[in-house]
């Protein structure tokens, strides 16, 4: 947008490149699904034919446990009669080290979420504005504009914004494929690294989410060890975003990179290169509270990230409450167990339902979503145009907002990320029925036209219904990214977000 007049003369009041470029990634076509959802959001009783939101990786399964704890522990709030005696001290507290009790509680929780197999040092816990803030901060600490980070694809769409937008860092994807179930291999990383270096790129490190978003898979410990050895050999950084650490519901234990650091000999791992990003948004389902953590084994990075945390400290009100909650061992133990159980059940119900429609998903043992294989439904195999076409059909006809694989930089068309933990059981069943109906319709072309017409009529009726929202009008405002450039309007959100 516009040219930048750089001279000793009149500067012009134009905005920065950052403010006017598209690097935030929110102008992509992928927000079509969100727009559609916003216009016609599903509600079990009030809008049963609306679009079901399955593009939002929220964990709503265990909020009741947290709510109950808060009710039973009024002292944890500085606003209740029981807790208000702490109000002034907490309201006044803006030390960027964070409340000591908060850091200890977080370290405690992180350790428990990893089965107690590893412990975390509260002195290395640095706050940030959600994992969004944490990822950006770690980039600011590790890389300069123009430097490169390798990121295995498919990857969380908003990394394009979080890692690159204001930092000037570049992402070079390490493409993973279905041929080996999208597993990240050291060979693939090595190849991508060599290629980048050969093209004169300054590769500063490797970053990936483990458990993976959007795949829901966890990296096996051996590969993780080898990756740690790889980065150490090449003196580049490793950032592991472990935001989904406690969403593991089956299979083998999640091996945190912290475990690997503990296990490996000091000759094999240079700990100054190892950094973890964490958050409570997924494991606890508290994205609204903005609790992001940067955890680094490198003292300089801890120090720098801590200074930078001034730009995104966690509200002391929130720190105080969570300090209390997360140091309640019996609550935490029960929560982690329950959460894992409920996610497992939900995942099981969903994948079984999908199987009935002959739909397979990548085998996964973690996350709040499945990586659904719809390659067989593409009109033209191996075509991204067909993927987008199919996606629009899913939104408009099946009435589900899901995320197409291409929005995650997947190199193979036909994969979709579908979230299952952000709704109640009934809604999930409606979604499954719709999918099953759609698939069976598809295999019966003549019936299709008739039911499409029915659907259209139903849709029109549904649209005529008045949507009465709760007083707080929050349910539809949970969407937090908007692709529209006009501000101030409560716009739909793009799928390119921390979902």
């Amino acid at each position: 947008m516009g040219s930048l007049i750089k001279s000793g003369g009149v500067s012009g009041a134009i905005l920065s490149r950052i403010a006017t470029n598209d690097q935030h990634g929110e102008n992509s076509e992928y927000f079509d699904g969100w727009k559609a959802y916003d216009k016609d959001p599903f509600h079990l009783s009030r809008n049963p034919h609306g679009i079901i939101q399955m593009g939002l990786a929220e964990n709503q399964l265990c909020l009741d446990l947290i709510k109950d704890w808060i009710k039973e522990n009024p002292k944890a709030s500085v606003c209740t009669p029981e807790g208000v005696y702490q109000f002034s001290d907490i309201a006044n507290f803006q030390d960027y080290h964070g409340l000591k009790e908060f850091r200890q509680a977080i370290a405690n929780f992180m350790g428990k979420a990893r089965g107690g197999r590893v412990t975390f040092d509260p002195e290395r816990i640095v706050m940030s504005g959600g994992a969004t803030g944490a990822n950006e901060t770690i980039m600011f600490c590790l890389a300069d504009p123009g430097d490169v980070f390798l990121v295995p694809s498919p990857y969380y769409a908003a990394f394009d914004r979080d890692l690159r937008w204001r930092t000037g860092v570049e992402i070079v994807p390490v493409h993973c494929s279905s041929s080996n179930n999208f597993k990240l291999t050291v060979e693939a990383v090595e190849w991508a690294y060599k290629k980048a270096v050969q093209s004169n790129k300054n590769v500063k490190g490797l970053l990936f989410t483990n458990p993976s978003n959007p795949l829901g898979t966890i990296l096996d410990k051996d590969t993780l060890k080898n990756l740690v050895r790889f980065v150490t050999r090449n003196n580049i950084h490793l950032v592991v975003d472990e935001i989904y650490a406690a969403t593991v519901f089956a299979g083998e234990n999640f091996a945190s990179v912290a475990e690997v650091v503990k296990d490996l000999d000091s000759s094999e791992v240079n700990v100054d290169l190892i950094h973890i990003v964490y958050s409570l948004s997924k494991d606890m389902g508290l994205p609204g509270f903005r609790v992001g953590i940067v955890y680094s084994y490198n003292d300089s990075v801890v120090s720098c990230a801590r200074k930078m945390s001034s730009f995104g400290l966690v509200s002391s009100q929130t720190q105080f409450m969570l300090a209390s909650m997360l140091s309640d061992d019996s609550f935490v133990d029960n929560f982690l167990m329950e959460s894992s159980k409920r996610l497992g059940i939900r995942h099981g119900v969903f994948t079984l339902g999908l199987k009935k429609a002959d739909i397979n998903c990548l085998i996964s043992t973690a996350g709040l979503f499945v990586w659904m294989d719809l390659r067989h439904l593409l009109r033209v195999r191996n075509s991204f145009e067909s993927e987008i076409e199919l996606w629009h059909i899913i939104i408009d006809k099946v009435k589900l907002n899901v995320s197409p694989g291409s929005s995650f930089q997947c190199t193979e068309p036909g994969w979709f990320r579908v979230c299952f933990a952000n709704m109640d059981d009934d809604t999930l069943h409606v979604a499954l029925r719709r999918i099953q109906d759609f698939v069976s319709k598809n295999s019966n072309k003549t019936a299709e036209k008739a039911s499409d017409n029915d659907q259209l009529i139903q849709n029109n009726n549904a649209k005529k219904q008045k949507w009465k929202q709760s007083n707080l009008r929050l349910s539809f405002r949970r969407l937090y990214e908007d692709g529209l450039s006009s501000p101030g309007i409560m716009s739909p959100h793009s799928p390119l977000l921390r979902t």
């Binding site: 500067s11 403010a19 709030s77 300069d144 979080d162 509270f289 995104g312 009100q317 101030g488």
Partner: protein, 470 residues
């Protein structure tokens, strides 16, 4: 290959400054009425601790807000999931109205033009990212808040060029100073993108006059640049004069819907007026749609906790509370400031006449051995170690004249302030008598002290145990 980014190894975060060094000393030996009555009294912290009781009383009467309930129903789940970067609509509405109330309802703020941020620290940085490229410059009148070096420059790559203000006219901004700064930027081959002022001023505690505001608006009009007005202290005005916001001036000049108004941005926060720095509530207000749009997306990196937004939307929507609070806040600040000023006077120390803020700009030039910054640092060291008061030396605020210090008064009890003033008085009186006794031995000690000071400053510059504050 360099392992970490240049940001890690640069000291553009500004925390090696003496402003933060006094903190370390305070932390080692903090005053406590009972447990450590000889400790260092913290007067370098611009916090407002005078009105917590009002908020606590409100909380007691409003259990719903406290218990994350609305009309008796729990809204915990909705709040836990709410991460929309547009912010809670009721909160922005309440914030807009609060900002209007502070300005006597003379101007209006449209909630849709508000972008929330994690404190004004984040708001200011975000605005820089939106308005400036690396290497662009913003002009700032000196003395200014030391944290700006970090907030405006560190990760953005922007530069600050000072507009030199002097005690000869009460540190007001003059046209010639403005022009000089602009030209200086050009000499340095820097592209000036705008001016940033804090109004009421930190560290001066004074409000910009209409003359200055008009000057600024005219200047940015002619140069086609931006004006950021950080009005974080707008609710701490305790004098008889009204606070005049840049928004008032735009209105009076009938520029509200003009092209210029798009280049005027206001930064706000609840850290000073309401004394809630821990809650991290900052805001950007801009008439430029693109700025609002870009800043909104950037706020993803530092959103306000939904729990906090909800609490404060209830608090600020209670107009009875806000009216009472703003009045009471003014009253208490005025009394406390008077206490500091008279205490200083009793010690033979004057300060810049001020009617806002949580601090006074104190004139200790007469206590300097020489009119140098070395002498200022020496004096500061004495005040920290011997008088046991942590105050902020003017050099840390980029003041061009040695001998000025920022002294805070709203972050302690009356009794503590009394004690602080007593200590200062004793020190001044003993210094006076010492001066009469030995002038020559003083000269000898000076050179020794100079070496000691520079060693000390070097040694403590590698600290990072620094609380963040304004």
């Amino acid at each position: 290959m360099k392992q970490l980014s240049t940001k890690v190894t640069s000291n553009a975060h500004g925390q090696d400054s003496s402003y933060f060094l006094g903190w370390e000393e305070y932390e080692k030996n903090p005053y406590d009425e009972i447990k450590n009555p000889n400790g260092i009294i913290q007067m370098g912290l611009a916090e407002n601790q005078l009105c917590f009781d009002l908020i606590e009383t409100w909380l007691a009467k409003n259990p719903d807000a406290a218990g994350l309930k609305k009309d008796g129903q729990s809204i915990f789940k909705e709040l836990a999931l709410f991460q929309d970067y547009h912010g809670l609509p009721e909160f922005k509405k309440a914030l807009a109205e609060f900002m209007e109330e502070i300005r006597g309802n003379r101007v209006t703020f449209d909630p849709r033009k508000i972008v929330l941020a994690a404190g004004s620290t984040s708001a200011n940085e975000t605005l820089m990212f939106c308005l400036a490229e690396p290497g662009d410059a913003f002009l700032l009148p000196t003395p200014y808040y030391p944290g700006f070096d970090r907030d405006l420059k560190w990760r953005t790559g922007a530069e600050i060029v000072p507009i030199h203000c002097s005690s000869s006219n009460g540190f007001q901004i003059t046209e010639s100073a403005l022009q000089q700064a602009y030209q200086q930027a050009q000499k340095l081959d820097l592209n000036v993108k705008g001016i940033l002022v804090t109004n009421p001023s930190n560290p001066l505690g004074t409000m910009l006059t209409r003359r200055e505001l008009n000057l600024l608006v005219d200047f940015i009009t002619s140069k086609n640049i931006h004006l950021i007005s950080d009005e974080i202290y707008s609710g701490t005005v305790f004098g008889f004069e009204q606070f005049v916001s840049v928004m008032d001036v735009l209105k009076d000049k009938k520029l509200e819907d003009s092209e210029v108004s798009k280049r005027v941005h206001v930064v706000y926060s609840l850290s000073k007026d309401l004394g809630l720095p821990g809650f991290r509530v900052g805001a950007i207000y801009s008439n430029d749609e693109m700025v609002v749009s870009a800043a909104t997306k950037m706020s993803s990196f530092g959103l306000v906790s939904s729990q906090t937004q909800y609490l404060l939307s209830a608090l600020l929507s209670d107009k009875k509370f806000t009216g009472t609070y703003l009045n009471e806040n003014k009253k208490r600040l005025k009394i406390r400031q008077r206490q500091l000023v008279s205490g200083l006077e009793a010690a033979g120390v004057t300060c810049l006449k001020s009617n806002a803020g949580l601090f006074c700009w104190v004139d200790m030039r007469h206590l300097l051995d020489t009119n140098t910054f070395e002498a200022e640092l020496e004096l500061w060291k004495k005040i920290v170690y011997e008088v046991k008061l942590n105050i902020s030396p003017g050099s840390s605020c980029h003041c061009t004249e040695p001998g000025w210090f920022r002294v805070c008064f709203a972050n302690m009890s009356e009794e503590t302030l009394d004690l602080a003033m007593k200590r200062l008085k004793e020190y001044v009186e003993s210094t006076d008598s010492n001066r009469l006794i030995s002038k020559s031995s003083h000269e000898r000690m000076k050179s020794l002290r100079k070496r000691t000071v520079s060693n000390w400053v070097f040694r403590v510059s590698w600290t990072d145990r620094v609380p963040d504050e304004r």
